[in-house]
């Protein structure tokens, strides 16, 4: 058996479908050829997915726990990010509202009480009627 033939037989060997004689030849070749032995070990790293008929049901605990931890960490990060985003939006809204109020307080026309009533005859009359009475209260 040469190297090419040996490597062609890897999948059948992994699936246990190689004839016993051929199988013995392959094993003998792998013992004598370091390159093919290395190629078989590289092949064995992906063969469980590419060449197996079924997947083992028993799952080791190490990987799922690590994976779950990563998922939890990712979920926590996502939650923290959402809270940070909300806080940032709230801060921006408060600052914008305060700025707008400050702007209005500076730029809005401020009229005195006299200006307000200057053209209002009724108000002036009322003012003139009430004023003496008020003075009288204090005059007594």
């Amino acid at each position: 058996m040469n190297c090419f033939e040996a490597r062609q037989d890897f999948p059948a060997f992994w699936r246990r479908s190689l004839a016993s004689e051929r199988r013995a030849e392959l094993l003998a070749h792998l013992k004598s050829c370091a390159k093919c032995d290395r190629a078989f070990r590289t092949f064995a790293l992906t063969a469980p997915v590419l060449y197996s008929a079924v997947e083992p049901q028993s799952r080791t605990t190490a990987r799922p726990i690590a994976r779950d931890a990563r998922r939890t960490a990712a979920a926590t990060r996502a939650g923290t990010d959402a809270r940070r985003w909300f806080a940032m939006c709230a801060s921006v809204t408060v600052i914008a509202a305060a700025s707008f109020a400050a702007y209005l307080s500076v730029t809005a026309p401020v009229e005195s009480l006299t200006d307000e009533f200057a053209d209002n005859e009724t108000a002036v009359q009322l003012f003139e009627q009430d004023l003496p009475g008020s003075n009288n209260d204090f005059g007594g």
Binding site: T46, P48, V49, L50, Y51, S52, T60, A62, R63
Partner: protein
């Protein structure tokens, strides 16, 4: 009662017999799910894609032509769904090889030391052998992985793959070559990292 062929069941399903389609789905589901499991380690994803495959097959049943075996038609649907999903969830390779659990390190050491016969037996019992194989395959580009699985797991030839994916035969050959080259490199990195106890 005689077992009805796929084509007879398709004809019955087209005539409104939904039980006939259920029988078809039950007949092909294990194989379709097995194809999905060669692409995705998460059984839920594999199950969902298989489910989607049967949904698409049901809605497109009128387009099925009996010149092609029904199983081949289903395989084309599921392979294209897997390809879309692989492209959608493409991750960066550097995230994938490294950070081994203790059973994974043991498996890598076993791969380097055990006899070929012992390796075959051990792989059947060890979940970590599957997990590591998936992580290695995850480092490949989606199109490279697609070609590798179809060639090695499904035993399809270059022209069949080219027809199924709508690619040229040259592209299939190039992808197969690159996939094997990349896989060999990643396997060497993985082995070295497991032995040194560091991330590659």
């Amino acid at each position: 009662m005689a077992v009805r062929s796929d084509e007879e069941l398709v004809a019955a399903a087209l005539g409104g017999d939904t039980a006939a389609f259920s029988e078809l789905a039950g007949r092909h589901r294990p194989r379709i799910e097995r194809i999905c499991q060669r692409f995705f380690s998460d059984p839920e994803i594999a199950h969902d894609i298989a489910q989607e495959c049967f949904l698409r097959a049901y809605t497109a049943l009128r387009t099925y032509r009996a010149e092609m075996p029904f199983s081949g038609w289903l395989r084309t649907i599921v392979v294209n769904l897997c390809y879309d999903e692989l492209r959608r969830r493409r991750r960066r390779p550097e995230e994938l090889v490294g950070d081994f659990s203790a059973p994974e390190v043991q498996w890598i050491q076993l791969v380097n030391q055990a006899t070929p016969e012992d390796l075959v037996s051990a792989a059947e019992e060890r979940r970590e052998a599957h997990d590591l194989a998936h992580r290695l395959l995850d480092t490949l580009r989606p199109e490279d992985r697609m070609v590798l699985v179809l060639r090695d797991s499904e035993d399809l030839n270059v022209s069949e793959i080219a027809r199924m994916l709508g690619w040229s035969e040259a592209k299939v050959k190039i992808r197969a070559f690159r996939a094997r080259q990349a896989l060999r490199k990643q396997a060497e990195r993985m082995t070295a990292a497991a032995h040194s106890g560091k991330e590659p």
